[in-house]
Amino acid sequence: MDFYFKTSDLSVGYNKSILIRDINIKLEKGKILTLIGPNGSGKSTILKSIARQIPAVCGSVYIDKMDILSCSLKTMAKTVSVMLTDRIHTDIMTCKDVVSMGRYPYTNIVGSLSDKDKEVIFSSLELVGMQEKAFQDFNTLSDGQKQRILLARAICQQPEVFILDEPTAFLDIKHKIELLDILSFLTREKKVTVIMSLHEIDLASKISDYMMCVKGDTIEGFGTPDEILKENTIEKLYDIEKGTYNMDFGSVELSKPEGTPEVFIVCGGGYGIPYFRALQKKQVPFAAGIIFQNDIDYQVASKLSDHVVSAPPFEPVTEELFNAAADLILKCDMVIDAGGNEGTFNHYNRKLLELAEKNNIQIKN
């Protein structure tokens, strides 16, 4: 099958020394590819080489069978538009002036804007929700607003392929979501192909059709988010030793307290999470139980403690498990009753609490 966007054995780097070799990207038209990887891994270098900001060391890049590394710069400008991490300093330029620079490849020698150009400029501003700021001085905008204006500039260039280097940097969560929504709108409605780098893995997995892990001098993986994001991929990619990354929820847990547990938390149904987090902050090792493996408490507890007594879902708690929990509880100095232990199906937790009381272990509610 012939792909719309293709790199073949692309090697990138600076001053002819190769940083990352053998990059083979294959994308259909209108898809989103996100590059993830640690700082300094070369995501920007790859994006810049594809956008011809820096020369590629070897290999080629094709868009619709056209070799874009050797086509004219003007053709390139009409095909690919970029949003960079460069901070820009303007002097008396309105937002509209900045956005209208995107029309550069289409205007005449002195750059006068036709009615059609103006229409494109204002619809781009509208798309990023900045039409009211059109005549405001670009310098007076906040970083997030500047970012949106730069996105409008890139949209205004009416490209086939969009290359964005960390477009969500400087944006708050609302604007991150809005920006990614705009990108997915463009891919759906205008069939624009997007290649970008993101730091937010959770967002990346949700917006991307394909993801690529960049690390060291090779590509660690390329595929759909489901193929890429397997157990521990992120920890390995980013060399995370202390904290953990929860793939399902995209949430980060900080480093786990080490040592023999001092506190036992009797919990379930999400009641335990605030206690887990509080103990993590104080770096007090803890045990928790008895929770089902499909319980929300389990997602957090298993990342923050090595001593979680858990039962497989949809099965009754066995005697063995109860004894394991009882062993742990007797070694602890304190037991926390997180709540939610009154139900018919967690009588074993009530039994645990009774056991603690009998052995004069301090119980906190």
């Binding site: 460069d86 002036d97 620079m101 310098n139």
Partner: protein
């Protein structure tokens, strides 16, 4: 940073505003030129000036189209009386020279500001004028001994070489420091070095050569004659048009190299052309009138503020006219305030220009901090 809700009002379209500014500036220029002809140690009534100028221009045009048949009439007018002589061979070339070179200097400053993406850049503060002056000085002092006669063209070429070398030096150093104030420091230091070399050469020069040099090294339009007017017009006006034709890439370049590249600009040739054009303009000024300070910074700044825009398509022509106005008035002050003693042109331009530099620095610092 506090965010003011500073809106650049859409009530006036930038093209309308540009036209208005151009009309005002042209009016001011005409006014300045008339004042310049009238005021001086010899007072000549405006009416006389108009009738004589009218005739002169008429014959001048006829002379051009007939291939020089009216030369006699032309010289008859200009030599008719002392007043006429003063007007046609002293004041007129001087004011036209001030206008053309003022415009050239402003555009040269604007090009450098575009290149360095820094409103504080200009041929004088970056030491480029001093570099040009250094080579002109060396040419006048040492080469004149060998060749005897030095044509103005040679001086322009020497000045161009000097400008270009110093610009390249500053570019190389400024590549290492991204800070705007450091660029200024480097420029000023390079300028001092060039001045030191020039002074050194003057110290060891013959008295005869220095005589040529002193008036010129102060910076003045007093040496103007029709030949230098012709030379500066031939050099500056075509260069000015080329600059104007480059205004589209210049605007794109103001967003930074990365974005400029992505819009299809070949950065290297673009930058080289920018530097060469700017060097030609500042070289022409320095070769003919000496180093003139601060015009290159002050004028583009005033122009941008007046236009409320930094679009090069508008700023370049407006800067040219504004520079002409600025220099014509400064020259008027230079020669009349303490008449019959003349001040150096830089004395006057510094008084108006240097505060503007301070203002820009303070404003920028506030924005960045």
């Amino acid at each position: 940073m506090m965010l003011q809700n500073k809106t650049i009002k859409p009530n006036m379209k930038s093209s309308v505003r540009f036209t208005a500014v151009m009309i005002i500036l042209t009016g001011l220029l005409v006014f300045g030129l008339i004042l310049n002809i009238n005021i001086g140690s010899v007072r000549i009534s405006a009416k006389d000036v108009f009738s004589m100028t009218g005739k002169y221009v008429l014959y001048g045009i006829k002379n051009i189209f007939s291939g020089g048949k009216f030369q006699a009439e032309l010289s008859a007018i200009s030599n008719a009386s002392t007043e006429n002589q003063i007007i046609f061979s002293i004041r007129m070339p001087r004011m036209i020279l001030a206008a053309v070179l003022g415009g050239a200097l402003s555009v040269s400053g604007f090009l450098l500001q575009t290149f360095f993406r820094n409103p504080i850049a200009g041929p004088f503060v970056l030491g480029i004028s001093s570099g040009a002056k250094m080579l002109v000085g060396i040419t006048l002092i040492f080469l004149s001994g060998y060749i005897g006669y030095i044509s103005p063209w040679m001086l322009v070429i020497a000045a161009f070489a000097g400008s270009l070398i110093i610009t390249i030096v500053v570019v190389i150093f400024s590549g290492r420091v991204k800070n705007m104030s450091m660029l200024l420091v480097i420029g000023i230091m390079v300028g001092y070095i060039c001045s030191a070399v020039t002074d050194f050469c003057i110290t060891f020069a013959n008295d005869h050569d220095i005589l040529n040099l002193t008036g010129w090294s102060m910076g003045t339009f007093s040496g103007a004659d029709w030949q230098s007017v012709g030379l500066s017009a031939v050099v500056c006006i075509p260069v000015f048009f080329i600059c104007w034709l480059m205004s589209k890439p210049m605007e794109a370049y103001s967003l930074g190299e990365g974005y400029a590249k992505s819009m299809g600009i070949r950065i290297k040739p673009f930058c080289i052309i920018l530097i060469i054009l700017s060097s030609i303009l500042s070289a022409c000024v320095t070769a003919i009138a000496g180093a003139v300070s601060f015009v290159g910074i002050a004028v583009p700044h005033i122009t941008r503020t007046m236009l409320k825009s930094s679009k090069p398509v508008y700023v370049i022509p407006a800067s040219f006219i504004m520079g002409a106005v600025f220099c014509v008035f400064c020259d008027l002050l230079a020669r009349t305030v303490f008449a019959p003693t003349e001040m150096a042109i830089s004395t006057v331009t510094s008084i108006f220009g240097a505060p503007i530099v301070i203002y820009i620095m303070v404003k920028r610092r506030r924005q960045e901090g």
